[in-house]
Amino acid sequence: MPDTSDKSEAVDGAHVSNSGPLKLKKIRFSAFQHELNVQQRPVSYNGVISAIAPDKKRRRKRVKLRGIDMFRLLRPYVQVRFSDQVKAVLPLAIYLNLFQILILRQNISEPWVVMLGLIAIIAGLMMFMEGLKHGLMPFSESIGAILPAKSPLPVVLLVAMLLGIVVTLAEPAIGALQIAGAMIQPESAPYLYEILNHWSGMLVFVIGLGVGLAAVAGTLRFLYGLSLKPLICLALLPALFLSWQMAGDPYLAEMIGLAWDCGAVTTGPVTVPLVLALGIGIAGAAGKGGSPLSGFGIVTLASLFPVTGVLLLANHVAAVTSPDEIIAAAQATTRLVSEISWYEQSPMQEILAGLRAILPLVGFLLLVLYYLIGEKLRNASVTIYGISLCLIGMIVFSLGLTYGLTNLGSQSGSLVPATFSHIDSVTDSPLYLFGIGITVTALFAWFLGFGATLAEPALNTLGMTVENLTQGAFRKSTLIYAVSIGVGLGLTAGVLKVVFAWPLAWMLIPGYLLAAVLTLFSSEEFVNIAWDSAGVTTGPVTVPLVLAMGVGLGDAVSAMEGFGILAMASIGPILSVLATGLWIKWSVYRKRANEDIQTSLAAGETS
């Protein structure tokens, strides 16, 4: 805004223009004011509405956009979603880089490839999540809300089960399993190699079956208001028993880590919202929705049921083939690998994998919508936009997974042992004394788990729910720290397990038994919260990173396999949250007891 001196000058100029030699420019005050104010041009709305009214075919005219309008609309849209994913990926990447450069004194190999890969992860996740919101979520919501009214309960449960299976295919982190499988040496872990390379389709199907059963069980739980405690115990029993039995066989024992890791993989960004939307829709249609706890439970069961499935599959594979056959077959194929068909090479492979992941899910949802509900697509163009965004996002994400996260994770994993032992790729290793090196490794794992969990946005949401549920007794920050510390400790235990080749079964079985005991003593709310918090922490970024790190680490210390770290990272928060819940309950009880004593004393004095 021009200051007022201009105004007075202009006004003065009008008076003294003819008197002096000074030539003054005349400005009319009204013209000046005209410049100062934005002109408001009145337009009659009657005129506008008749100009944009629908034509005879009742079709509304499209709005014409200028370039600047497109920019203004799209910039905040992209910016918000991009920065969400940046916040999830960047801190982890920076932490790993700094650790590698400062503590391990190694440069990152192929830094540009890793960086482009990370950008691809961020962009891919962004597009995928947005596509999910516009393309797939509306399907699941309307199916959940309408289907129970139109079909009998068995059909509804069947749909929930099938949804669980196809949804697992679409889970981005599931691709990380296959990539991790490619890094396994057939000689050191034959069954693992066989399952991840030749039975991978079956493996994903079995995991999906577990998720499907979990969806059914979770939905029934919604409908009949069952307690989660017996369900958890029922789900744990066969898994723990099989693990205990398989721990005796040296070849089968290597499968335990994979099986329990699969549970963590399933509870990702696709499964949880889609299955939950269906379950809540069904419960709502039955008039049982609205309970604050109704959202919980499915996630827990979806991470427990697949474990049993994978363990059974492992037993089946062991029954059909023997380790010697697998090794012989693997050696035979390595001689033949010189020619890889075009569709198995890097960019094509990811594109095909993306198509294979998304299309069954879309097809299934469309079939249910058309044949069971008999409803047509309401907003076809937006749905198509969402589905194609999902597809592109999935493909870009898988590319980023191959070149960025897996690369970075396996680099860190394979270099970390340089702190305490000799590694060929690192000159003058071991870098530190054995004790210090192990401590550095443990701290590295702890901070990785702690930091990655602290930054998880889903945990924040869970924290708020929990604070409301417990009327403030369980503070949001308490939950976030309990879960983060639990994941950190779990990750540390997992890394140490790989380094020292501790048998996983002897860590998992007592851990889960302890969790079961704590579960029996805890109240229903804390049980729901604790078991779900384990699923929340294992997102699409953490899972591939930790898997790759584990396998790289396992390779470097020539352990049999690097799985099981994720499983330990899941049991950690369950234990820590259950323990915190019990502690809070106890301290509330003690406070009440103290108050009771005081009031009774006071009552005694007065009487």
């Binding site: 104010n37 499209r62 709005v63 956009l65 799209l74 516009h134 936009y385």
Partner: protein, 121 residues
């Protein structure tokens, strides 16, 4: 204290501005810089032009924020213009705003201001 008099404000107009969720803070800040003394924001849902933008409609939030600002009739035009610019209302999908006359309003008025205004009368 006898409660027999309340100060009622006249010459007031209400500016209502409906924008996408998350945008209100910047607009309120701009309006306050232009002389608005306060603002009320509440959440709402609404759509209209969104459906006519085609695919680009997904970039427009259905969730809205409604900003209500009471302004003196001397200031209302200026604040209106500043808010229009801050909200980029010339772009389709960004929202809308309107001014309605207000018969009377009441709030805290500093006693010394009240005294001065009474003296002028």
């Amino acid at each position: 204290m006898k409660y027999n008099e309340i100060a009622v404000l006249t010459d007031i107009a209400l500016i209502t501005c409906i924008v996408q969720r998350g945008k209100a803070d910047d607009i309120v800040r701009a309006a306050q810089a232009a002389g608005a003394s306060g603002a009320t924001v509440h959440f709402a849902r609404g759509s209209g032009i969104r459906e006519r933008l085609g695919i680009l409609g997904v970039a427009v939030e259905v969730e809205k924020e409604v900003i209500s600002i009471l302004a003196s009739t001397d200031h209302v035009d200026h604040i209106f213009e500043v808010m229009h610019k801050a909200a980029q209302l010339d772009t389709p999908g960004m929202g809308l705003m309107y001014v309605t006359p207000v018969e009377k309003a009441a709030t805290h008025i500093p006693p010394e201001v009240l005294e001065r205004l009474r003296g002028k009368k």
